[in-house]
Symmetry: C2
Subunit: 412 residues, 2 copies
């Protein structure tokens, strides 16, 4: 049983996390938001007050914090009395925040693997390069740490576990498919921080197939998927966090991640990438100014948080598991469909931020009530998926199941 | 009769100018090359010595010069005894160099209209915004100034004059077509300074039609041309210097400029332009660094001067004049075909620099022997084209003529 939340980060996902925490503050307690720029935290608090999202009267406070300073994070945890830390800051801060949780005993959550800004898409195993090195420390100190508990990674890992528990006992393949069929109405924009978005695609694409890591280039392997609601969509083999943990937990299955891209996105990405404009290595202009091209691209692109008001359409993200049950072929696709407009109306964010920000709040509720307060480090597929998906059904991300018997809601 | 050349600029075109001057230094006299970076001038001199290009023993000297400092330019003209200045520096320096020629009496030449770095593709009339304001001063002081004497503008203006003198007495349209059917083998590169290259295409496209300026967007109006040697090529209505002077001299004719572009160039340009990466207005990165996006694009693109060794294929640039002669329909296409490899073998430059750099040397030879030493300011179509084209026949850019009687060389 734990209470009081410290949210680290103040971007689009943090906005969703904060709203959802507010809607459930009877269970979660005080809500603190910390970021390098305190004003961004204050804007989120204004938005919560504007929408009257607090379920019961309670603490809602903004803090300035350098999340790469473990001692400062630990001090803020102690000062606020937060027992649950939801880290939705940049992926560069994970290890510093995790260490502060180990120091203070607070539960830790994040939504993406730690990244070293100097290394992009490192050779697998990525989790083992960083977070998993603290697993024994978490166990020794009884610290709950839930890694990668956004939508993907996160909910899709729970979908994999549910599929294998109830539908496909002997999995042979786990394919995660992420389609954003929405439209932001701009000529081009990334859906979240361009620096992070493009970095996902400039390195080698790793997938786990036939018991070994396979390497491909981005946009090398494409496949059309026929999906509920969003219809036929082309998605491409992409490296992604959950491939690493799922392949460690289900090494006998092929584990692949597929992300949907339109031809326009691919064209813009290809031009920028081939010209060297997505590089994070500085270049020197003719005038002698040293500048990182990717940071200039980020500066000219729309601020992803500005997209929300005009965003329309739906996302479909799910996990397809194929294999055998009792020697017979079995297959299930477990998924969620989210709507950009609904997300904006509820919490002032677009659907991509919404799907990433709601799940850690569900996890926080399970830590608060003790269900997931496991006192060690876990990836999501190592936890019981049913209480998690049941809460998500209630708080905005309902699960659906498609198999030979058709499509039906997950009943919890 | 004038002697001794001061070349301003040390880029790809200046390299060609210097080589061609060296090959004709019996007539032209001493050769001086001046640029902000003296080492670049010295590299050109090494290249001339390496190829043994000097026709007779003679002076060949490098100088450091800020060409935007009129007094410094005038001092260098006096110090070197140069009577002919070939300005092939950036288009930003024209007016400063022209004023130095007015001060010293040296003949002036350039290959592009003056540009104010803060204003791109100004509303026409461009020449009248800058150079033509000095026309009376040139006449008063007897200073010869030949404007826009590269290939286009330059040779194509002479083609127009020749066409109207000898083939189409009453011109109704003058279309200049510039096709580079060569290949540099890189994924993408501009053929000359990206800052200048892209600036030509980011503004409004002006053409002179039906006695008035017409505005279009870049790549809005395309047309397939069937041309000698290079075959069928798509070219797009583009704003260009010669449209302004030709429309002033032949206001009764439509005057258009067409530049050939492949789909790949257009795609890369469109992506960069739509994202705002071709802007010369500074943006601020998340880290607070002020940077001009176009300068970063320039920094990541190949240095155009590095393309020459691998450049293959041909250019075809010419002037199509249609109209009437003695009441009957008449039409002629006067053109040159140049070869990238031949240019590299002769002067170490690619064909685009070659076609731009040879014509001002032919003009210098005509000033040196008195033929074009007119003691006032002229655009090329205001001068006798035949001696000019005859020299070009001899020094590397032969002219051909296509009309109802077929294709034949211009005999001089």
């Amino acid at each position: 049983m734990k209470r009081n939340i410290l949210i680290i980060g103040a971007g689009g996902v943090a906005q969703v996390v904060a709203h959802k925490c507010a809607q459930n503050n009877d269970l979660l307690g005080d809500i603190h938001i910390a970021s390098r720029t305190k004003a961004k935290c204050e804007r989120i608090i204004e938005s919560i007050r504007g929408k009257g999202s607090l379920k019961v009267e309670g603490v809602l406070e903004a803090h300035a914090l350098d999340a790469m300073d473990t001692a400062a994070v630990a001090a803020l945890i102690r000062q606020t009395g937060a027992q649950i830390v939801i880290n939705v800051g940049s992926a560069f801060v994970n290890m510093y925040v995790l260490d502060a949780c180990l120091e203070t005993g607070a539960a830790y959550m994040d939504t993406a693997i730690h990244e070293d800004p100097a290394k992009i898409c490192e050779t697998p195993p990525w989790y083992a390069n960083y977070e998993w090195k603290r697993r024994d420390a978490c166990t020794e100190k009884g610290v709950t740490a839930i890694l990668g508990v956004g939508f993907d990674p996160g909910v899709v890992n729970a979908y994999a576990k549910l599929a294998i528990d109830d539908y496909v006992k002997e999995p042979e393949s786990i394919d995660i498919v992420d389609i954003n069929a929405g439209s932001h109405g701009r000529w081009f924009s990334t859906n979240f921080d361009p620096e992070i978005n493009f970095r996902e695609f400039t390195g080698t694409v790793y997938s786990w197939q036939q018991g070994a890591w396979q390497s491909n280039k981005m946009f090398e392997v494409g496949k059309e998927w026929d999906l509920p609601v969003v219809g036929t969509q082309k998605a491409y083999l992409t490296g992604h966090d959950e491939v690493h943990s799922l392949s460690a937990n289900y090494p006998q299955a092929d584990v692949r991640f597929w992300m949907g891209f339109g031809d326009h996105y691919i064209n813009v990405f290809t031009v920028l990438n081939n010209l060297g404009l997505l590089s994070e290595k500085p270049v020197k202009t003719a005038e002698g100014l040293e500048v990182v091209p990717l940071k200039v691209v980020k500066a000219v692109l729309p601020d992803p948080s500005s997209l929300a008001p005009d965003y329309e359409g739906k996302t479909c993200i799910g996990t397809l598991v194929k294999g055998k049950t009792d020697g017979k072929d079995a297959e299930v696709f477990i998924f969620n469909v989210a709507d950009h407009k609904d997300a904006y109306n509820e919490v002032g964010s677009q659907g991509i931020s919404y799907t990433a920000g709601v799940p850690p709040v569900a996890a926080a509720m399970l830590i608060a009530d003790g269900t997931w307060d496991v006192g060690t480090m876990k990836n999501v597929e190592e936890l019981d998926p049913k209480p998690f998906l049941s809460i998500l059904n209630r708080i905005g991300l309902p699960t659906e199941i498609k198999d030979a018997n058709g499509i039906r809601p997950f009943e919890g």
